[in-house]
């Protein structure tokens, strides 16, 4: 019943055998070992599994692995570059936006999808873009600060 498909993740192609019901999240975590993407609910409610697919933030628990074929998928593991942390990552570290860290990969991918399209968002746009990402530790205050700082190029 399993089918061989090719997924393009963080700029590299991967051949994986997937069942029809396997989610993109399952395959990223269990087949490709990309465990930075988290599962908090499996129902698309918490946003911990957010990845960027063809430039849009999606909850990978609601995307079937097969639907990922032919798409450009970016996960938290691909956010930093050879030059170091992405400005969003740097800002999250510096502004104390990280506590337990479980929601952070999804939060960062939603923020990245926003900044790629809207490099200088308003605070309202940041909140709207992150409205699907639950955080239970930080109260969101420093997360908003960090995204705004990254957008403004503040270090």
């Amino acid at each position: 019943m399993k089918e061989l498909i090719t997924l393009r993740v963080n700029g590299r192609g991967h051949e994986v055998r997937v069942a029809p019901w396997d989610t993109l999240l399952d395959v990223l975590r269990n087949e490709l070992g990309l465990t930075g993407t988290k599962e908090g609910c499996g129902e698309g409610d918490c946003g911990a599994c957010t990845v960027v697919m063809d430039g849009r933030a999606v909850t990978s628990c609601l995307v079937l692995a097969r639907e990922g074929q032919g798409r450009e998928i970016q996960t938290i593991e691909g956010l930093a570059s050879d030059h170091g942390l992405h400005p969003l990552q740097e800002a999250f570290v510096r502004y104390g936006a990280v506590q337990c860290g479980f929601c952070i990969p999804g939060m960062l991918m939603s923020a990245k999808a926003l900044l790629d399209v809207t490099p200088r968002p308003t605070e309202g746009e940041v909140r709207a873009a992150l409205a699907g990402n639950l955080c239970r530790c930080t109260g969101y205050v420093k997360i908003v600060e960090a995204v705004m700082a990254a957008a403004a190029g503040r270090r």
Binding site: C46, Q99, G101, G139, Y140
Partner: protein, 766 residues
């Protein structure tokens, strides 16, 4: 650097791992031969088990093992009262009680196999309401309660409740409450309720268990208490503690939902029978349904006040519905007894807290256990008392609330009391008294909380050959920042090095020393003491070695600018780096050890009578004041929180970035408790076990939150610090409820403050 590390806004050391996906949580682990586990949970709230047949499940291809009570020792376990069976044998006591565990090659097979286990139940009448359960006519949830065991310190109090559904009782008596009420000019009596809630960490419970050929069990688990888990696994499976290793990787949020040993022995037993490593992940539904929620509470409060606003007497009765197991009920009860009277001088006080079994999931010590519920009640009540005597709520509180040297509810002499400062500064920042538009209002609430003491810890600080430092600590990291954001600053401060030279190895029962756990806002308080002592030990060793080389007494040396020099003779010095490089070839590696424990303040039985309390005093208490501003839509009853100002006396902020983060997070959880969060039950079944129906605040829901860090040092705190983790969540719901009343004149006495309830209160108001 040396004098400025403490108090600096320093990023936590694990932040880069957590922003790059490199932090490995329990659910991320993969081991060779990994199999998947799944529990069979009871579908009935109360039933007798007649028969369990696992044959069909075992025959399903891909199933490796099915574990039931027959596979584990016939014992009851529990941290305080031993009333938990790993896999149920004769009876199930709530929807979700664990009956069996399946281990299979993959998760889908495990899920299929669970459905093939045949259990013959005889359904019994269920008791899901605490007040029903308290009636003598109610069926007993634990028929054999009289034979249950407890730990020695609780023996006497446990004896008093054995054989009832009321499984714990705490009381405080101070002065003469009847006389006090009789002498009051006004007496006010009210009842408030708070529902079951949930810490709702974004990471559900996650465990991986593995067994080696010698029978040694290792469990990686998202727990706040690895050392307690070790004890419980050893006890439940009849293993010596040396054959149990618990590793708590980074934890995706705890908030008390992971603060007691629970399913670790179950998953260990599954790995033992399967002879394979087993991964078991809770679904979100399981997490909500059974994952250690917050106690529902009913609070009756009656107070007497003089015409001039002086509080003279208070009587409080609290009922906590603890579900099917005692678990941490005695602790929650004790803490509730200290919070329920409020933060006021009350000469005549009577407090009673009952903890009651029901056929519901077992509640735990969720962030500030019993705090938000009781403080919502007493602070709402306090506003009514102020109104009765015609005083402003802030003025009334300033008149009655504690000052330095006042007596707490049990007569404890309070020290480091920043309460009035917190209140004044919060009120000022919130522009208390400045007129607001119609349907807007401000509300205030006060609270105090303990820094848990009496549970020790030890750490080692190793000074490596190159002068960098490795800290080994049993302390967990569940996000609060103590371990990775606070402790490195202590080392940096004491040793004069940069934090990027420090590495932290933590929460592994085999490789790090004992720590009681990330509970009771205790980690920084206890660990920072231990770390400071360990660094002093390192310095002592350095001074001894330098003294030998310089041929002077170690007492004549000082450490400055990376050198150890003779005091007053800066030229006569040895670089620290020389000592560290030489260490393996001279006196051996430099490993400092620090161990710390402190008893809570002594209770004076002449001041009050206290029964059934494990916490008759509060160690190094923190004091908080919050002001909320709301707008209420009179048409819909909808509440919009416009602003929260949160002032907290933390003693000393070792890392202000972390302290602010704790306050922000606490306030937002408090907003959830106030407005939306409620585990809803129908006949013992939680009907909203998901993030859509159990609504926690989103980033779009939160108002501006202003933090005020008050620093009134605790005498026994490390550098004066007090606990910070739990206190910020406690006053928020009370402040919001008071703001709603100020905006509309309508009082809602039940949490959460839903639009329906607000409209109902508006109708009652007329």
């Amino acid at each position: 650097m040396a004098t400025s590390a403490l108090g600096s806004r320093s990023p936590r050391l694990d932040a880069a791992d957590k922003t790059t996906g490199k932090a490995i949580f329990a659910g991320d682990l993969a081991l060779p031969g990994l199999a998947w586990g799944k529990f069979l949970l009871s579908p009935h709230a109360h039933a007798r088990i007649r028969r369990i047949d696992t044959t069909r499940a075992e025959q399903l291809p891909g199933v490796i093992a099915v574990v039931t009570h027959r596979d584990v020792p016939d014992v009851l376990v529990g941290e305080l009262v031993k009333d938990i069976r790993l896999f149920q044998k004769d009876k199930v006591r709530y929807i979700g009680d664990i009956v069996a565990g399946v281990v299979a090659e993959d998760l889908r097979t495990a899920e299929e196999a669970v459905k093939l286990i045949e259990v013959d139940y005889e359904v019994l009448p269920a008791v899901t309401d605490a007040e029903e359960a308290m009636k003598p006519s109610s069926p007993l949830i634990h028929e054999e309660h009289k034979s249950y065991q407890t730990i020695p310190p609780l023996a006497e109090a446990f004896k008093a409740v054995q054989g009832h559904n009321i499984c714990w009782h705490t009381e405080i008596r101070k002065g003469d409450v009847e006389r006090g009420l009789a002498e009051a000019d006004h007496v006010l009596e009210e009842t408030y309720t708070a529902p079951m809630g949930h810490g709702a960490p974004i990471e559900p419970h996650a465990l991986v268990a593995s067994v080696d050929a010698q029978g040694k069990v290792t469990v990686w688990t998202a727990t706040q208490v690895p050392f307690v888990c070790r004890e419980q696994v050893a006890e439940a499976l009849h293993l010596p503690m040396s054959k149990v290793r618990i590793i708590a990787p980074p934890i995706g949020g705890g908030f008390g939902a992971k603060c007691q040993a629970w399913v670790e022995p179950n998953v260990a037993a599954m790995a033992i029978k399967a002879r394979r490593p087993v991964k078991l992940l809770f679904t979100r539904e399981e997490e909500f349904m059974i994952g250690q929620p917050r106690h529902p509470a009913k609070v009756h409060v009656k107070s007497g006040v003089k015409k001039d606003g002086t509080l003279v007497a208070r009587q409080v009765r609290v009922i906590l519905d603890t579900g099917y197991s005692t678990m941490l009920g005695p602790i929650v009860s004790s803490l509730g007894s200290m919070c329920a009277p409020g933060t006021y001088r009350i000469p005549n006080l009577a407090v009673d807290v009952d903890v009651v079994f029901t056929n519901k999931p077992s509640c735990s010590a969720v962030r500030g256990p019993a705090g938000p519920q009781t403080v919502f009640a007493v602070e709402s009540h306090t506003d009514h008392l102020a109104k009765l005597v015609g005083m402003d709520p802030v003025e009334f509180r300033l008149k009655n609330c504690w000052d330095e040297g006042d007596e707490g509810p049990t007569g404890q002499i309070l020290q480091g009391v920043g309460l009035k400062e917190a209140l004044r500064r919060a009120a000022e920042k919130a522009e208390w008294g400045r007129p607001l538009p119609p349907n807007h209002g401000r509300g205030v609430a006060l609270a105090w909380w303990l820094t848990l003491a009496g549970f020790g810890c030890a750490v080692t600080v190793t000074l490596n050959e190159d002068g960098s430092v490795t800290l080994q600590t049993g302390a967990v990291d569940h996000g609060t920042g103590s371990t990775f954001g606070g402790l490195p600053l202590v080392i940096a401060e004491e040793l004069g090095i940069e934090t990027d030279q420090i590495s932290v190895i933590n929460s592994d029962t085999d490789t790090t020393p004992f720590d009681y756990g990330g509970v009771g806002s205790r980690t920084t308080f206890n660990q920072a003491h231990a770390v400071r002592l360990a660094v002093q030990d390192v310095k002592r060793q350095l001074f001894e070695r330098a003294g030998q080389m310089l041929e002077v007494s170690p007492d004549d040396l000082e450490m400055k600018g990376g050198k150890i020099a003779v005091r007053g003779v800066p030229d006569k010095a040895i670089p620290v780096l020389m000592l560290t490089h030489l260490a393996p070839f001279t006196g051996g590696p430099i490993v400092g050890r620090g161990t710390f424990n402190t008893p809570p303040p002594a209770f004076d039985p002449k001041k009050a009578t206290v029964k059934g309390s494990v916490s008759p005093t509060f160690n190094a208490p923190s004091f908080g004041a919050q002001v909320a501003e709301v707008e209420v839509d009179p048409e819909t009853g909808n509440i919009t929180v416009k602003k929260v100002v949160a002032a907290l006396d933390v003693g000393r902020a070792l890392n202000p970035l972390g302290v602010e983060g704790q306050i922000h997070g606490g306030v937002v959880q408090g907003i959830g408790i106030a407005l939306t969060e409620r585990s809803e039950f129908s006949e013992g079944r939680m009907v909203n076990p998901n993030f859509v129906d159990f609504k926690i605040p989103l980033i779009t829901d939160i108002p501006p939150i202003e933090t005020i860090v008050v620093e009134n040092p605790a005498d026994n705190g490390p550098y004066g610090a007090k606990g910070v983790g739990e206190p910020p969540v406690i006053p928020t719901a009370g402040a919001i409820a008071n703001a709603v009343c100020a905006a509309t004149g309508a009082r809602v006495r039940d949490l959460p403050l839903t639009p329906e309830r607000v409209l109902e209160a508006l109708r009652r108001r007329g």
